[in-house]
């Protein structure tokens, strides 16, 4: 199959060899699970259970709120201890509403295979079930998957792309999943293809994962519904825009989603979750997590119930060999720094990295020498050096004019920067500030409209009152007046 290139990108050291050959192990069920109510993009779920209540494995804990939202389920049977604020898996560690479950036993939840054939279900029902299972994008974006499966007659999907690129260094959770459970993934892809009524389904795997490619190609041979292709290893290949360009040759026009050009992208982890949801009626309540980094004693992939705290994972992997220089959730390129180990695994946690000092090695920040490496590396076609210079002087308008909103935050610019300037940090700040500004503007516009409506209403009411008064006065005057007004007395 013909492939297409994309602009920019980098080749970071993959560092996947620590974990890519070790089988996935199941984390023993922790005594307590901390399940945040918001683990996805969109509105937080609303709790349906009360403290003290006993829940079964897979039972609904919190209901989805609105279209862009996802429900949350119990990963294991147990008693609800509390619904209270706990640190979020976020750099700030700010508290978020969390359901705390004290688990009953260490038994894994029983699976009941469903007897019905999901291929007989209408596409809308599949989307509905995926939504009810709380499945979100497992690559880290955590966008509710059901929204992307909902049939849209205006934008029919012709190509389904399954993202098996896993371009982030260190992470091997998708790699291991593809090596160990290829049939389930292929089944999931076929179900998504059925839901979307897509003409083709392409599973794209970076060429640094030959074992995963072989396993998937063998599994796909049976049904011929899925084309398994090898794509070059180049970060950020796994970012939706770059992947669509590589596979189809088309860029997603600015302001459009992949659906705009008839393409839909899902992650292999999502395909696996959809397979589980439709074949065994299990909601999304566990995921594969790569535990790696120079400070971890036995790096490996774990199958972890949602809500297990990072410390449980690290302990199971033999603990830390040194105090980590940086603790990261996700990959080392786009992952987020974690404040400590007492935050839970959520649906989008693809990895837990305890990076040692020599791996982080930022060095001192120096002035920009305008070498242009960031310009060459930027897959979005931006000028990071110019935008960074603007942001250093808090020139938000200047940065916006240069297109900082189009920054995908992939980190290629900061990665190649010889002056070690934290460019992504600046751009995230810029994007946040611009978002604030938009909200402020919308708010003041709303206030202005309301104020205007009020003054119009007051004016209208005053006019109505005046008219009424005038009418009354007129009618009164008429009543007082004699029916036949006499002329001036003679």
């Amino acid at each position: 199959m013909r492939l297409f290139g994309f602009r920019g990108g980098v080749h970071p050291e993959a560092a996947k060899h620590h974990t890519e050959r070790r089988p996935i192990r199941r984390l023993p069920l922790p005594r307590r699970l901390y399940i945040p109510l918001q683990q996805h993009i969109g509105a937080p779920a609303k709790a349906e259970v009360a403290p003290g209540q006993h829940v079964e494995s897979g039972q609904l804990l919190a209901r989805s709120q609105g279209l862009i939202s996802a429900p949350v389920h119990a990963p294991a049977a147990g008693r609800i201890v509390a619904i209270e604020e706990h640190p979020a898996p976020h750099p700030t560690g700010l508290p978020v509403s969390t359901v705390v479950i004290e688990t009953d036993s260490e038994q894994p939840p029983a699976t009941v295979p469903s007897t019905e054939d999901p291929f007989t279900l209408p596409p809308a029902t599949i989307a509905e079930r995926v939504g009810a299972a709380g499945i979100v994008g497992m690559g880290g974006a955590t966008f509710p998957s059901a929204v992307k499966l909902m049939p849209n007659p205006k934008q029919p999907i012709h190509t389904l792309i399954i993202n098996g690129s896993e371009c982030e260094p260190y992470l091997t959770c998708d790699d291991r999943l593809m090596q160990e459970r290829p049939e389930a993934i292929i089944d999931g892809i076929r179900l998504i293809r059925h839901a979307l009524q897509a003409r083709r389904a392409v599973l794209a795997i970076e060429d640094n994962k030959p074992a995963a490619f072989a396993a998937m190609a063998a599994a796909a041979r049976q049904s011929e519904a899925v084309e398994v292709i090898r794509i070059p290893s180049r970060y950020p290949m796994g970012w939706e825009k770059q992947l669509v360009k590589t596979v189809t040759g088309h860029e997603i026009p600015h302001g459009q989603l992949p659906g705009g050009i008839g393409v839909c992208v899902h992650n292999v982890g999502t395909a696996y979750a959809i397979h589980r949801c439709l074949r065994t009626r299990q909601p999304l309540s566990s995921r594969i997590v790569t535990v790696a980094g120079g400070a971890v004693r036995h790096p490996q992939n774990l199958e972890v119930p949602i809500g297990a705290r990072l410390e449980e994972l690290i302990d199971f992997c033999g603990g830390l060999t040194e105090p980590p220089a940086r603790l990261v959730m996700g990959g080392p390129m786009m992952g987020q720094v974690m404040p400590h180990l007492r935050v839970p695994i959520v649906k989008g946690s693809s990895g837990v990295l305890a990076l040692s000092a020599h791996e982080v090695d930022d060095g001192p920040e120096r002035p920009c020498i305008r070498c242009g490496r960031c310009v060459m590396a930027c897959p979005a076609g931006l000028l990071p050096l110019e935008m960074g210079a603007r942001m250093r002087h808090d020139d938000l308008d200047g940065a916006e004019a240069l297109g900082v909103q189009d920054c995908i935050g992939c980190g290629c610019c900061s990665y190649v920067c010889p002056s070690k300037i934290p460019l992504v940090h600046y751009f995230n700040y810029a994007k946040g500030e611009l978002q604030n500004r938009r909200q402020e503007k919308a708010k003041s516009e709303q206030t202005r409209q309301w104020a205007q409506a009020r003054s119009e209403r007051l004016a209208r009411e005053a006019a109505e009152k005046a008219a009424l008064r005038a009418e009354r006065a007129a009618s009164k005057a008429q009543q007082k007046r004699p029916p036949h007004p006499s002329k001036e007395p003679l």
Binding site: F119, P253, G411
Partner: protein, 368 residues
């Protein structure tokens, strides 16, 4: 400078850092420098040392005055590089005050007054070279014929100190002229080019660099070697040097075809003067050249055009320094107009049009 601990990724970085980049550029210049010192003897060594040491001194002085971190700034290696580059463009037996004054001008006026590394609009070494040439034309055009180390004509240690620090005149037996200067004079005297060239020009000699000239500019081949090393190490892009050298060669070839008696050929232009040094070490200065590939191509071509014009029709035999400064001044404009196309947008910034459906939609593959 505010030091922040970034919370955003990436959490691993490419190992390349500014000091190592600068160190590699200096390393690439070492062969040409050593050759220059060999060719012109101990006074040349004095010039190099004076430039490098005074560059560090002036950089440190400026950094102290504005209370920046001295160690951090000096360690970036940019001052050493500026000093070395200036030394390579000076006459090898230049008096000490040319070296020190020129370096001071390069570092203080050329770089630090703008805010230091990364802020200067003009290449500091070229700025200083032009300033020296305009202010001290005699000293800046006093060339010496090669007098290699250990040869009878070479000055000994004491003599070298006299030459550098006491302004001893160059003995007549050693005074020489650069090829560019000699040919220009001959042409001005009404000689036809073949005669003017025939007496002085041998491509091989110019390539090796056994000729009068600036301290480190004579050996075209050693400079080319250093440039290839920088390309191999990914320190510089090929765009600027290739476009510069190719444009210069093309111009020289076209004019030679038009009138071989007045215009010298590509080999003459490529192998003489500061062209090789400029191609790989001056034009590729990241601070003062465009940041995009298209911009770099234009920048190199523009420099070549100016070099050819100044050399051929201008008042100076060599025009690299002037050409570089003129193009440096254009860099912000080039950067403004030569931006990469953003993903999903046209060059004008509008969203891309949707591709036609029949082009996008593939035929059905396999059974679901």
């Amino acid at each position: 400078m505010i030091v922040i601990t970034p919370q955003a990724g990436p959490h691993v970085r490419n190992p390349g850092k500014v000091p190592s980049l600068m160190a590699k550029v200096v390393l690439a210049l070492v062969p040409a420098t050593l050759f220059g010192i060999y060719l012109f003897g101990l006074p040349a060594l004095n010039t190099v040392l004076l430039c490098v040491v005074s560059a560090l001194f002036f950089e440190g002085l400026c950094v102290r005055l504005v209370n920046k971190r001295l160690g951090l700034v000096l360690a970036d290696g940019s001052a050493v590089l500026t000093g070395l580059l200036l030394a390579l463009t000076l006459p090898p037996w230049a008096p000490w005050w040319i070296a020190v004054g020129g370096t001071g001008f390069a570092i203080v006026v050329g770089k630090q007054v703008y805010g230091g590394l990364g802020q200067n609009p003009f290449n500091p070494a070229m700025l200083a070279r032009v300033a020296l040439l305009l202010a001290f034309p005699l000293q800046m055009t006093t060339w010496v014929a090669p007098a290699p180390l250990f040869s009878p004509a070479a000055p000994d240690f004491a003599q070298s100190l006299t030459i550098t620090f006491n302004g001893a005149a160059v003995p007549d037996s050693l005074s020489g002229a650069t090829l560019l200067g000699q040919v220009k004079t001959d042409l001005d005297r009404g000689l036809a080019l073949p005669q003017a060239l025939g007496a002085h020009f041998s491509p091989l000699g110019q390539g090796i660099g056994y000729a009068a000239g600036s301290l480190g500019e004579t050996s075209t081949l050693l400079l080319l070697l250093g440039g290839l090393y920088l390309l191999w190490q990914n320190i510089i892009n090929w765009h600027t040097p290739v476009s510069f050298l190719a444009t210069l060669a093309l111009l020289a070839w076209v004019f030679q075809q038009l009138d071989p008696t007045s215009y010298a050929g590509p080999l003459y232009h490529l192998s003489s003067g500061a062209v090789m040094l400029a191609a790989f070490f001056i034009l590729t200065d990241p601070v003062t050249s465009p940041a995009t590939r298209a911009g770099q191509l234009l920048f190199g071509a523009g420099c070549a055009l100016l070099v050819y014009i100044i050399r051929t029709w201008g008042g100076y035999p060599e025009g690299v320094a002037f050409a570089v400064l003129l193009m440096n001044a254009l860099t912000p404009l080039v950067d403004h107009y030569f931006k990469p196309r953003q993903y999903g947008r046209t060059r004008r910034g509008k969203p891309l049009p949707l591709p036609p459906l029949e082009k996008m939609a593939p035929s059905r593959r396999g059974r679901p």
